[in-house]
């Protein structure tokens, strides 16, 4: 019963009167759409439009290679494992970043540019792979997968939850399995070290505040998709030059940041002395170093925690420094570390100091456990617990466990007094 106009006619109608719907604002809002859809894209093309530095690998895949000087002070990289996963070192890493057609993820987000760098003998080799149109994705992904399969660790910024998933998904859709190598996400590390001192851990901010570098005319990442779509229409590689540069700079920043992270533990002054004297507020320029590292107590504490995780032998020393510089978190971690390693006296000293620093509940709880179970000094343990129960503000949810502890101590104490012989 329904009239059915030819689809074409109905579509023409819609074109003339698009339904009012929210559209994403974009860079090119003022530009008129191309008059003839997809012009110039249908033939097999000669992409001499891509500048001469690029080498054409397959119909739609291009590569650019750059050799750069050896970055950072690699001499210190071998002292501990941090920040490399166990059993790996800088030579095992591929530093990479992707550029995509969207930020939302999902199957419709295409990876069209992958920049990757790795150490080769005495220099750094940077390769960028570029996909000039959709149909070449299979070959493009194969080339990219080939890079990753030769290394053990993929170093990225936010790659753990974004880039690596995307690459894996794209490969799957091309019927390939992307090489599964370890992901070292510098965003996670940066957050732990600088998360509490920097207002943002974006790569841009880390570059400015930690690496002390400012990019000149960088293209904001959010504008990358529009550039690529425009390139697809206009086939003008000039449009993408800023994207290529942006991607290259991102990869190089990953290398620099890794080297800074690797050097960081060695730069932390030992024990209590030097930081104290220089007054560690905010960022401190370390002696003989041009780079402001953001070495305040919180950063050191964060670093210490990371080192512990990486099983880096320097973690205890760094924790010590952070603790003496006033970090409660570092103190707690240090106490825990001493306790686990059965250095009870050192642990007790840490807890005593924590108590003085005002971390009553944690310190007294640890001390009470230590007195009760190690030293069997029930009286002192009970004193500490009662001091907390009556003198501190305890989270109502945790209060019952404190009361339980007190009751148990009281029972123990009574039976000890009532039956002194049985105590052992």
């Amino acid at each position: 019963m329904k009239r059915r106009t030819a689809l074409k006619q109905r579509l023409e109608h819609i074109r003339r009167h698009p339904p009012s719907r929210k559209h994403f604002p974009n860079e090119d809002a003022g530009l008129t759409p191309p008059e003839k859809p997809g012009k110039g894209a249908r033939d097999s093309e000669d992409l001499s439009v891509i500048s001469s530095q690029w080498q054409r690998l397959t119909e739609y895949t291009y590569r650019r290679i750059e050799k750069l000087p050896y970055p950072g002070d690699f001499g210190q990289w071998n002292e501990g494992s941090f920040p490399f996963p166990e059993g790996t070192g800088p030579e095992d890493c591929i530093f990479y970043d992707t550029e995509t057609t969207g930020l939302s993820g999902g199957a419709g987000t295409l990876v069209f540019l992958v920049g990757a760098a790795w150490i080769e003998k005495d220099h750094l080799r940077l390769e960028q792979y570029f996909l000039s149109d959709f149909p070449g994705e299979g070959e493009f992904m194969e080339a990219v997968a080939g890079l990753f399969s030769q290394k053990k660790v993929a170093v990225s910024y936010n790659g753990k939850s974004y880039d690596s998933h995307l690459l894996r998904g794209r490969a799957l859709m091309q019927g390939m399995v992307f090489p599964l190598i370890q992901e070292l996400d510098l965003l996670y590390l940066s957050r732990r070290v600088w998360g509490k001192t920097l207002d943002s851990c974006s790569l841009k901010n880390i570059e400015e505040k930690v690496l002390d570098m400012v990019r000149g005319d960088d293209l904001p990442g959010s504008l990358v998709p529009e550039r690529y779509f425009r390139f697809l229409e206009e086939r003008d590689s000039e449009l993408l030059e800023p994207v290529f540069r942006h991607n290259r700079d991102d990869v190089l920043s990953l290398v620099s940041l890794t080297s800074v992270l690797a050097e960081l533990p060695g730069r932390v002054p030992s024990g209590a002395d030097p930081l104290q004297q220089e007054g560690i507020k905010g960022r401190v320029v370390l002696k003989g170093d041009k780079v402001p590292y953001g070495m305040d107590p919180k950063a050191i504490a964060g670093l210490a925690a990371l080192l512990g995780r990486f099983k880096d032998p320097r973690s205890a020393a760094v924790l010590e420094t952070a603790f003496h510089a006033g970090s409660v978190e570092a103190g707690r971690a240090l106490g825990r570390m001493h306790r686990i390693d059965r250095r009870y006296e050192s642990a007790e000293a840490v807890w005593r100091r924590l108590e003085k620093m005002g971390d009553y509940l944690h310190a007294r709880l640890e001390l009470a456990k230590y007195y009760e179970h190690r030293l069997k000094d029930i009286g002192r343990a009970l004193e500490l617990v009662e001091a907390c129960l009556y003198g501190c503000e305890i989270d109502p949810k945790k209060r019952p466990s404190w009361i339980y502890r007190r009751n148990r101590l009281q029972r123990k104490l009574k039976s000890k007094i009532g039956n002194p012989e049985s105590g052992s």
Partner: protein, 771 residues
């Protein structure tokens, strides 16, 4: 129960309003043995639940699905539907340790309810088949394990659309091994939702093919006219119909009740709110467990409130009858408590919107009262089916409202009890819906002109290429836009946003519910009285910027009803044609709705006790619609030639009212899918116009259908008003009566008669018929 029925039968005042009392005799169950290949674990799981044989339809569904055939099962409520598909699915998943199944339910609440029911069958983990619910409420931490290890995924179309399909590479294991897709309540997928569903399933099939799987479909439907046809058009494939219901059923009485006329001249009947309340009260006091279905959230609250007030007066002491209201907008936890109370029997009565119509398990009730015809016969039977337990007598009473469709149903019981009620309908080729889904499909996998699932789409693809979201290269169209298209496409409503309702009484800050924005503007304006679980709350502030509404307990003796003002702007006229010498046009409209005033109505008597102003931004909608032009010199204009503007307005609104009421029957939609607006002097055309438009942004093809079929609709409107027993027009035909009184017509002709003449003037062959 028997006693209650006897009492009703002896009550003359009740019986004189009954237009039909139909008794459907009890039916024995029809049983078949377990299938021979049934896995021993499954068999013992069933036996431990006391199940030793299957209903015949369960066994037939098992055999059909196991033979790899798409299967459609039609069964009424409470006939072991879950088992009919879960048994073959579980059997297959026990044989194929990698196999997966997808269950789709139209709502989240139903999905959760079904997971509980399924957990029961798999003996809470004794069978090695992991069943997980994957919807918007699934916490992020559980999603990965759900995707990777869930064997049966329970979800809803919206989640499939916006969460699962666009991220299919994360679901590779699931899609590669997908064996079954179960679509429960398939009759829900008609009209707009259904047209979306067809396209959604096309996308799902594309992904399955991509990963090399070819799942079998199972659809479960309520009793509608064309379950097999509808299911086949939803899955776009052939299927086998299993409609032999083998479940036993108790005796059922269905009573059509037309409330007494209060004013015979004007055709005013007693309101369904009070009539339904009285019937429910009577039953509850007789110890009959009762469910009342109301058509709106507001009426749900009113009826529940009235019932509870009446009970409170009578039972001050110990006698304790608990009645709750239930509707969308309550928090899930609140709903679970009510459902549980009903199952356990601690709640004796419930007043609900159609939220309880679908298969949520609330145990057996004895009586269902339908406060008004729910819009479709299938719905009416679903609601009636909520009453009834094996081996006992159940009763359903349909209380008709003054609305034309209701009156039609009680006037023509054969239609209601006949074999073939209305049919579900979808239009997957609706260009708006198709284009939206092609965008999503392109995002998921590149499209080709010869796509295996989407057919004949070259023009649509070129359209999208022109829009700049797809790019053609080497024979394929690729998604070439930064956005995530599924996010911008809603399968159900135009507004995905909700307003959160916060109770701030005495310094509290409790979230008590939520509501979509357009409804909020009409129900939660500043000063509105909002009824929630029988409590009267007054709106302090509706904050649309932050989508919050603050309410406090108020002791008002009135409730509020907003008056919506519509303004129509014609954006384009695409077609114009003649009908019996009159002109009608079809095109794009901009519809602006403005809620500027509200009425205050006293509780109990519903008398108007004042007005208030509403200050809210207007709502805009770009849609498609038709206009009936009363052009100078046309037959329709002749009918209005000798009356003033006020009277002409009354005739137009009378006709509009009738059209809006009868059109859904022909367009297979509900009244709220359509909007109507009458203009005595339309600014665009300069003549009187009646507009009928799709109440969905962008339009969904309904008024386009009406444009083609206008004669049938106008004839039905005319039939309705001619058959109405009132003297000069009433709410059941041409609309609100108080406005009719103001009219002045020559020769003592009533507005009703003039409206009949007006409608007839549109029908070439019937012009001479009008008296």
């Amino acid at each position: 129960m028997k006693q209650f029925l006897e009492e009703l039968r002896r009550d003359n005042r009740f019986m004189e309003n009954v237009t039909r009392w139909q008794t459907i005799p009890a039916r024995d169950g029809s049983f078949l043995d377990f299938p021979e290949d049934l896995h021993s674990d499954l068999q013992s799981a069933l036996e431990s639940r006391g199940i030793r044989s299957l209903y015949s339809h369960q066994r037939k569904a098992y055999d059909s699905l196991r033979a790899g055939e798409n299967t459609v099962v039609v069964t009424p409520t409470a006939s072991g539907k879950t088992l009919s598909y879960s048994l073959p699915v579980l059997q297959t998943l026990l044989e194929d340790r990698d196999g997966r199944a997808l269950y789709l339910f139209p709502t989240k609440a139903l999905a959760q309810d079904q997971q509980a029911a399924l957990g029961d069958i798999v003996l809470d983990g004794l069978l090695p088949v992991k069943i997980v619910t994957y919807d918007g409420d699934t916490p992020g931490s559980l999603r990965i394990s759900a995707r990777d290890t869930g064997r049966i995924i329970i979800s809803n179309p919206d989640m499939l659309h916006a969460g699962i399909l666009p991220n299919h590479p994360k679901w590779i294991r699931f899609f590669s091994n997908l064996r079954f897709i179960v679509i429960d309540e398939v009759h829900i997928y008609r009209g707009v939702f259904g047209s979306h569903m067809v396209n959604l399933l096309r996308r799902l099939k594309r992904i399955c093919r991509f990963y090399g799987s070819d799942p079998v479909f199972f659809c479960a439907s309520a009793t509608i006219g064309n379950p097999l046809e509808l299911a086949c058009s939803i899955i776009e494939d052939e299927a086998r119909l299993v409609d032999c219901n083998g479940a036993p059923a108790g005796e059922r009485h269905v009573i059509l009740y037309n409330p007494p006329l209060v004013d015979r001249n004007q055709g005013i009947r007693k309101g369904i709110t009070n009539e339904s309340k009285d019937i429910a009260l009577r039953a509850l006091r007789a110890g009959v467990k009762t469910i009342v279905f109301a058509r709106s959230r507001m009426r749900t609250e009113l009826i529940a409130g009235y019932i509870n007030t009446s009970l409170k007066n009578r039972y001050n002491q110990n006698e304790h009858i608990r009645v709750e209201s239930y509707r969308g907008g309550y928090l899930p936890s609140q709903r679970r408590i009510i459902e549980q109370g009903l199952r356990e029997g601690s709640i004796h009565g419930v007043v609900s919107t159609n939220a309880l119509e679908l298969g949520i398990d609330i145990g057996g009730l004895d009586l269902s009262v339908l406060a008004g015809f729910p819009g479709s016969i299938a719905s009416a039977w679903q609601q009636a089916g909520r009453a009834g337990r094996t081996g006992s007598v159940s009763v359903s009473i349909l209380v008709a409202s003054s609305m034309p469709v209701d009156q039609y149903m009680v006037e023509n019981p054969e239609y209601f009890f006949g074999q073939n009620p209305e049919s579900g309908w979808v239009d997957p080729e609706n260009p708006y819906i198709l284009l939206d889904h092609l965008k999503c499909a392109g995002f998921e996998l590149p499209l080709t002109e010869t796509d295996e699932v989407f057919e004949d789409i070259r023009e649509a693809l070129e359209e999208l290429e022109g829009e700049g979201v797809l790019r053609y290269s080497r024979g394929k169209w690729y998604w070439a836009d930064r956005s995530y298209p599924a996010e911008q496409v809603s399968l159900r409503t135009s507004s995905p946003e909700n307003v959160v309702i916060v109770d701030t009484t005495e310094g509290k800050n409790d979230v008590i519910g939520e509501m979509d924005v357009p409804s909020a503007k009409e129900l939660l304006f500043d000063g509105a009285v909002y009824l929630h679980q029988g409590r009267r709350l007054q709106v302090e502030k509706l904050d649309l910027e932050n989508n919050r509404c603050f309410v406090t307990a108020g002791d008002t003796n009135y409730y509020t009803d907003s008056l919506v003002k519509r303004d129509i702007k014609v954006l384009s006229e695409d077609e114009r044609r003649q009908s019996a010498g009159n002109e009608l046009v079809f095109g794009d409209l901009l519809v602006r709705s403005d809620v500027a005033k509200y009425k205050k109505l006293r509780f109990g008597t519903n008398e108007n006790v004042g007005y208030g102003d509403i200050f809210l931004p207007e709502e805009q909608m770009h849609t498609r619609g038709l206009g009936l032009l009363v052009s100078a010199g046309s037959p329709a204009a002749a009918v209005l030639a000798d009356v003033d503007a006020v009277t002409a307005g009354l005739v137009l609104s009378g006709a509009g009212n009738l059209i809006r009421q009868v059109a859904p029957v022909f367009l297979l939609c509900v009244a709220r899918d359509l909007g109507i607006a009458e203009r005595v002097r339309d600014p665009h055309y300069g003549v009187p116009v009646i507009y009928l438009f799709d109440n969905h942004p962008g339009g969904v093809g309904l008024s386009e259908g009406a444009f083609e079929d206008i004669a049938r609709i106008l004839r039905a409107a005319g039939d309705r008003v001619k058959a109405c027993g009132c003297s000069g027009g009433c709410p059941s035909c041409i609309g609100p009566v108080e406005r009719v009184e103001n009219a002045e017509l020559p020769q003592a002709e009533s507005i009703k008669e003039r409206t009949i003449r007006f409608l007839d003037s549109w029908l070439a062959d019937e012009k001479t018929d009008s008296s």
